[in-house]
Every structure is written in C-alpha cells, then in structure tokens.
Symmetry: C2
C-alpha cells in the first residue's frame, strides 16, 4: 500500500471505501473500549474517530474485535485441506494461524510442506508455518521422510515460515543431539523463532531447554508449569484442543501482569469440536466463562501472538493494521456475527462467504505403499501364554502395560471372545519395507470385525485392530485402495470408510462431510462392532503407535516399552 | 555463544564463571520478585535457581534488576563523546541506549554518524542508533549537511542502526513532502522502526502521522496526548530530560494495562543533571516516588524498550539474556550499588570501573569555518526606532515577539544600558557563506560583555549575544579558534571558554570536566556579566536559533517569525 494514499485517507483527503459507523472498538493496546467510526480502505485500517466512507455500515454500538490468532496448531488434525480449514475457522473468527505441518511432513517430507504452503496461498486466512523439527518423531518407527536441518533450511526464509516447529525431542536438546542442535542453530542463524514442547520439564532441565532458544510452550497442564515458563521468559500458549484441554486449569494462573505472555492455541482440534464449539473463539468464550476479563481474553487471542511471532500490523485495531475484524454483539457471549478479512466480509453467522480453488499436488497423493499381506503375516508367535498387553485407559492417551494369560494354538495367539484382548497391527506404508508390528490390546471391546486407519501419530503407518484376521486384512486392503483413510469391516464386509487421499491423513472433502462420515462410522463402531463407549476408536488408534507417550505402544518395528525406552517381546 | 556450552552450563555439566547467591531477582515477565541464585558465564545468564559457580558472590537478599534502557536520547546533549557518556551513565545503571545522532549529523553529515558508530564500539554500553531524519531541521537555516534518503540508506542495515530517528518534520509527513516520504519508505523497505516527534497533533492529523508508520512518541506533555497515542498503537516514551521534564505529569496516566506500551527516555540531558540526579535511574526513582509500583517502573525502563525495538536477549533477567545486571539494596530508593555489563563489574557507587580508548576522526574536528568578521558586519540598520524584539520567557523554550522602541545612531541600532535589549548574532559556520543573522533580545540582562556558542539547535551555527560589538567579535573569534565551544568575554578580554572540538558541540574531556567548566562559566555569566538568574544563558542561546519553536527566532538567514512561518524585518 502506498504511504501517500494512506495519509490522504487518514487525513480525509480521500474517502475510504468502507466505514463502520458508531462502533465500540476493542483496543488491545490500552485495554479499553473506544466509541467511534472505523475506516477501511484496500484491506487496511485507515481511520479511527469520525469518518465517512464510500460505503457506510451502521454498527449501532456493536463491538469490533481484531481477528483471532491461533498460535499453534496442526491443520491436519482437522483432517481437511487448508482451504476447507479456512472455510471452517474463518467464519468463527480466526483470521491468522501459525501451523506446524508436522503430520504431513512425516508422510511426505518437504513435499508435504510445499503442499501446505501452496494450498494456503490466497486464502482469507493468513497461514504461517513453523518447520517441523521432528521428522521422524522417533527412531523407533519408519516414517515417510527424514528432515534434517539441511532440508529444512531450504524453506527457512520463506516469507510465511516463522521458525522451527515444536521441538518435542526435548531430551535431544538437553543431551545435545547433534542433529537437534544443528536445527536449533539453523533457526538462530536465520533469526527465527523456535517453538517448544517440553511437558513436565523443570529446574535445570527446563533452564537448559530454554537457553537453547526455545521460546514458546503449549504443553502446560498445570498453573505451576505455566508460571515457571513465563518467569523464564517463554510465551505460554493456553491450549484448548480436542484431546488436550488445558484452558480451564491454566486460566486460573493468568493475572493482570503475566497475561501479556500468554497466547491461545488449539494444537489438535477435530472436525466435530470445530463445528460444534468453535476454534479460538471457543478459547475466548471459555476464558470469559471462567472469569477472565473479556478484553484480556481478546488480547491473549490477538496482539499477544502478534508480538510473540513479530507479525506486522496484525492483532489490533489500529492505524495501518490489517482490517481483520469481527463484529460481535456483546463481549460476554462473544458470538461472532460477521468476520471481515482484509476489509472483505468473509463470514456471517458461522458460514463462509468465500470460495476456494482446490489444489492437488501428485506428490501428496497415493502415499500408501504396501505389498501384499497374507494371513500368516498377522500371526503372533508366542513362547508362553502369559503376554504383555497394551491396556487402554478411558479418556487418556496414556496406556498401561499389563500381563495377561491368553489362548494359544500351535504357539500362536488365538482370540477368545470371552477375553477383551484384540490383535493390534501396524503396517509400514511409506516404503513397502514389509515391516509389520504386532501386539495385543485390552479395553477396546470390539467384536466381530476390524478397524484400520492411516492416521497414526507421528509416522502415520497403517494401524488396525480386530478380533479376526480376515477382517483385519480386509480393512488394511481397503485403506490401501482408497489411498489412505479409515475403514471398518465386519464379517468380511466393509461397512464404511473415509477416504483421506492427501498423505493418508487429510480428506479432499469439506469438514462437514468428514464430520458426518466420522459420526456415522463411530456409530457403526459402537453399535455394530460393540466398541467400548469409553473410547473414541479412531482417536485411540491414532495414538497407539506413538512411542513417546507412556507406557506401551506398537510401531511397525514392534512393541515398544516407553518407560524402558526400548522394544520388548509380546 | 555456543549452544552446546549454554546447555551444559544451564544443566550443571559445567560450572558457570560467576554465580550471584541468594538474590531477589526482579522478573519483568511475571512481574514478581524471585528468590534464588543467578548464574552467569561469558556475559550470558545461564541459570536461575540453585547454582554454584567458579566464583560465587553472596548477594544476601539484595535485588538484581535488568540493566536500564534509554529509548531515545541525543548523546551530544551531554556534550561528551560516547566513551565519556558511557562512563557517566553506565555506573548509574544504563546499559543500553538508543541514540539519535541528530546534532552531530547536522554539523558533519554522514561522517558525524560514522564517528558516533565508531566511537561507541566496544563499550560496556550497547549503543544503538536511529538515522537522523531531519538534516537540516528546516530550510530556514544553513546546516553543515543535507542528508537525503539515499545518503541514509547507506547506513540503514548497519547492525546497530534500528531505524529512522524522530520525524520532527510532521507537517512534511501529513503534507506528503516527497523527500520525507522517501525516507519513510526507505525505513519500511528495510523493516526498520520510525521514531516520532509530533507534539500536539490530534485526530485526523495524528492518524495520518501514525499511518505513515511512525511508531513511537517522546514529546507528550499531557496524559491525554499519551493516552491518544497508546490507543492508536504507538509506544510512548516518558521523558525526563534537562529542558523537558514530562515524567511527573505523564506517570499519572500509566495504569496496569497500558504500561506495557510505555518506555523511559531522557532525550536531552545535560552533564549537571546526569551527575547530580542520574540518567534513566532518575526516571525510575521519580516514577516510584510518584506512586508507580517499582516493578512496573523497572519494566518500563527495561523489557518494554526491548520489545518496542525488537532487541534480542536484552531487558530481562532470563535464560540466554545478556548479563546486564544492577545490584540494588531496596526497590524504593533504587540506589544502584553495582552495575554488571555482559557479566563484568563495570560500575560501583556511581563510579565507572572501565577505561575507554578515545577515538578522534579528523572529519568531525575543525568544523568552524568562517571568514573574517568586521564590526560593520554586526551593524543593525533600522528604518525606524520601533523594532521587533525576541522576548525571553523564564524557564521556557518559547519566546515572545514584542515591539520595542530603541536608540539609534546613523540609522543603526545603538545599545542603551537602561534598556535590557541586546544584540543577538547568528554566524553561519559550516561553509563560510558569510551569512550573518542579526536580531535583538530582551530579558537576557547581560551587561559589559558577550557570550558565544557553537551549540545552537539544530544547525549549530555560531550564536552570540552581547551589549557591545567588540566583545561579540571577541567571543566569536574565540569559539572559532578553539574549534567550537562556548566563550565569555568582558571589556575586550576572554574570561573563560569551553572547547568543544568535536563538531563544535562535543568536548574531548570528561563529563566532570565539562560540568565544572560550565558551572564556572555560569558563575561568571551571572556574577560578572549580570545575566538574569531566571535563565541559563548557554541553554537559552542554544535554542534561540531553532526556527520551529514559537514565536520568534534568529537563524543565519535572518529573523524568523515561527507563527507566520516566514522571515521578518527587525
């Protein structure tokens, strides 16, 4: 934008395109509500005070709030493309996001990052990215890619790359893993921000993690953890995702002096939660409901993220700032009536008013590469009938390692319908290595069928569970044939499936389609396959191959004891 | 610094060089006082908590505060070199400054900036600069240089240049002066900050000024002005200088929500005030005395400036930050006992514990270039005996334009000892143009002598006042011969002089020397030349040639009516 024109607009030599008349403007610098007109031209705020425009919109005392910022999320968790994600979250008030394409990068490497960058261009949503720092997430599994610092460096100065994504390999930091330190140095050398992921760290270990340059944390689950990190100079993201919901706990630790070091994020938010409760607007509402001053909540949702990530002219209603504006009727309910992005009306009553052009890139499609799997490949050979079993805990990502006595036949595991112990299978699907990890799981409660999914953090191999090998083979075959996704079978028949052709983790359909399909398939899982109502079978499967969450998990390389930090026999 | 080593230090694999034991650490992120040890190694804070070092210093419950930041100042106002300035302010707690070399640039152009950069290297004071935006300050005077955007651009990416200095040509901004807009665009294109100087602006004019990109303001003299600017997104500097003292007024407008947008600055602070009351430590003390919470005052003096100017790892006591530390015994009195810069003890009880190497650059010396001036050059020809006179107002930079009847002889002004109307002379001294501006001044009250100075904002021509031409010629000759400075004469004898060989505005001696000399010369002015005790004659002279402050001033081009914004006849 031309400075001369901006000056002419601000000083009223030229009429601005659009003026909101008689607004109550939430001022995140002075923590006040200012009554007046708000002038906008070519997507920029050009006047606050007393203005008339080519077009005037009578706001009649409604509130104008800056567009909301999600400071940390994985778009892939919503299982839709950046375009469809924008259609879901923009009408709910989110106008800027800082995403870590960690999931797609674990499948597709740099081409996954390239896809996310390309497909988030020209949206009415400013999409910034952090470079995934941990691809693969661990050495205990086969992922689709290995991204070292030299690969990441190719993208580090892209205008929408803000830094290095959550450094979840925190032991690698404090034990100075060479490649981890290289990535950190690469971020510093390019003056980029490093996001953290260091739950439960404290004292000297936390000091060491922070001194390496890690600047943010979104894994706090207690007020003490949060306060510790704010004291040490971190920005703390208060997360309200689908699996992890920390807001109601953490908000109790926010006060008038430390709130400026707090941000909001969603991290992983599933279609259902976005559609039913919202996105960052949900964080704001929940914070207000829990007693936080609404202007403070808005500041946390806007200018604080802008300050943390040094975003320019975003996160406030001020001269020269982007006209990313929300119209709401009252601060308490925080119901967003309209959303303007760069001065354009793009959302109304939670409906997107814009269209996007889908972009497919062949390199993120057809990512399920496995050979033929035969029944004997699923055979679990046992030396004795007392075995290690993964025990699910309701509503928890943590599993328990338990010993159980099982039936055997010819020294092979044999399912017993009186025991709730099912076969769990992880099939490497990126390089056709033929790797298959086999384990047993308790408390899933599934009967007469099988479920498979290619969403399995963080390497996203195929994970399947079932009470009989035929159905397990059937669902694996199905997810392969649909290019990745989720499938349910019973009695050798596919009951339903959701195709996720982009990397095997993202749909090419709308978020409403994905949500409806998941609801239907959940219903089938609960009602036809008898899955325990205490668990979400798809989410549960998606975390059972993640060898960093205690106590026991299964990867394509075998059964992994997270406490021993090594593979074990069944 | 090596990340691996930092991690080893933080996690206690290596002993840090220095640990302050049992400190009360002022935490500017959480607004708290944290008890614990503070570990430092190679100038970096490497541990907070429980540490032991190669050397341990028992702090015994004293407070450790981050080094203070002066967010806007002209070093030249202290009349000493950057080295001597550091010796004065560092032991008083200032460890980072953001200076605008506006004065020396008006004399020496880019070579003045180069001199300031070079002579501020390797000091125990981090000296950042803003590029002077207004050289010359106006078109109504001859300065030593003209700096257009293309000249400034040569320095814009110097690692210690943060942006464009105070844009005092605010009419030039709102009327879109081509060269002004070029400079602003140059700053934007290089992602640099633009400092403001726009007193009394409001409404649409203020909007226009801010939308051009001006980000800070240090000229607020009322709470309303301050609040207006904070609302519009500016950082506001609360100034406590020598001439302009705004702190006690503005501090009343600071609250728990807007303080994060406030900084402290001194702008222009003279040797006497630095030595007697301090520097930014004085702002902090005065703020506390006026009821501001001490931690808030410290935040305004530290982290807020760091945030505003995007300084890295400065302004807080946190992991990986510079070990710029002040040891104080209590927060109320804020007496700084010791100052550590980059982990080294550099000041104790207001005494500098470091030496500096003086650097002279020929291009900033011998800047007083004038031809021979004869008595007839000082003759004020009058058509009538009613004339325009500059009337001084006590303790005020503003002058009054008054009409007075004076004595004449052969149509020339003739001094009458019963009237306090003196001859004022401004001699162009940069290019030997021979330009001499002549005027008359009331309320100076000087008798039997003359004073001349080469400190005359902003072009720093020679300005002289006297009751007889012989003494005026004498003092002009003297300041020429000493390479610039201040001189006093009486009855054709020089009584005393202060040499300011660097640009005619900066001494090559210590601040104590300059202060002693000025005190002596003030005493002479008051007691031997009978100068009015209501004015500081040197400071008064230094502002009498500044044609932007109402109502009437004198430049080398003649008598200037600031209200009419044009030259007038005597």
């Amino acid at each position: 934008m031309n400075i001369n024109r901006l000056i002419d607009l601000a000083i009223k030599n030229i009429k601005p395109q659009l003026v909101f008349k008689n607004a109550k403007i939430v001022n995140v610098f002075s923590h006040e509500i200012i009554s007046g007109d708000l002038a906008v031209d070519e997507g920029i705020i050009v006047g606050i005070g007393n203005y008339d425009g080519e077009k005037n919109i009578e706001i009649d005392g409604k509130f104008i709030v800056p567009g909301l910022i999600d400071s940390h999320l994985h778009i892939e968790s919503a299982m839709v493309t950046p375009q469809e994600f924008a259609k879901a979250v923009v009408p709910r008030g989110t106008t800027t996001i800082i995403a870590d394409p960690h999931e797609i990068a674990n499948v597709c490497g740099l081409e996954g990052i390239e896809y996310m960058l390309k497909s988030s261009e020209k949206l009415p949503l400013d999409v910034y990215f952090m470079l995934p720092s941990c691809v693969p997430a661990t050495n205990f599994e086969n992922s689709g890619a290995i991204l070292k610092s030299q690969e990441l460096e190719k993208y580090v100065n892209h205008p929408r790359i803000l830094g290095l994504g959550e450094m979840m390999n925190y032991p690698g930091v404090i034990y100075k893993d060479e490649e981890v330190i290289k990535k950190i140095n690469m971020a510093h050398e390019n003056s980029k921000i490093i996001d953290g992921h260091g739950p439960n760290m404290k004292n000297e270990e936390l000091n060491a993690y922070i001194i390496s340059g890690v600047a943010t944390e979104h894994e706090c689950s207690t007020v003490d953890e949060m306060i510790d990190r704010i004291r040490l100079g971190m920005y703390v993201m208060i997360r309200e995702g689908s699996a992890a919901r920390n807001l109601e706990t953490l908000i109790r630790g926010v006060n008038n002096f430390n709130y400026q070091r707090c941000l909001f994020c969603t991290d992983d938010r599933h279609p259902k939660d976005i559609l039913s409760s919202g996105h960052i607007d949900n964080n704001v509402r929940l914070a207000i409901k829990n007693g936080l001053d609404p202007i403070t909540a808005i500041q946390i949702a806007t200018i604080n993220s802008s300050n943390c990530y040094n975003l320019k002219n975003v996160g406030a209603i001020a001269l020269g700032y982007k006209a990313d504006l929300l119209i709401i009727d009252n601060l308490k309910d925080f119901n967003i009536e309209e959303v303007y992005k760069d001065g354009e009306l793009v959302g109304k009553n939670k409906e997107a008013l814009f269209k996007t052009k889908e972009l497919y890139m062949p390199n993120v499609l057809e990512t399920v590469k496995i050979g033929e799997i035969k029944k004997e490949d699923l055979s679990i050979k046992l030396k004795e009938d007392i075995v290690n079993v993964i025990r699910l805990l309701p509503h928890n990502l943590i599993t328990e390692k338990v010993s159980r006595k099982v039936d055997t036949e010819n020294n092979e595991f044999k399912y017993n319908e009186k025991l709730d112990i099912l076969k769990l299978v992880v099939v490497e699907r990126h390089k056709s290595t033929g790797n298959i990890g086999l384990g047993l799981v308790e408390n899933f409660n599934l009967k007469n069928g099988a479920i498979a999914s290619t969403i399995a953090h963080d390497s996203h191999n195929i994970i399947a569970v079932g009470d009989n090998d035929e159905d397990i083979l059937k669902v694996i075959e199905k997810v392969k044939n649909i290019g990745g996704g989720i499938a349910i079978a019973s009695k050798n028949q596919i009951l339903d499936s959701l195709s996720l052709p982009i990397g095997g983790i993202v749909s090419d359909k709308s978020i409403e389609y994905v949500n409806d399909k998941l609801e239907k398939m959940l219903d089938i899982a609960y009602n036809k396959l008898n899955v325990s109502q205490e668990i979400d079978p798809f989410m549960t499967l998606s975390f059972l191959a993640l060898p960093v969450i205690p106590q026991i998990k299964l990867t394509d390389k075998g059964l992994f004891d997270v406490i021993k930090f090594d593979f074990i026999e069944i």
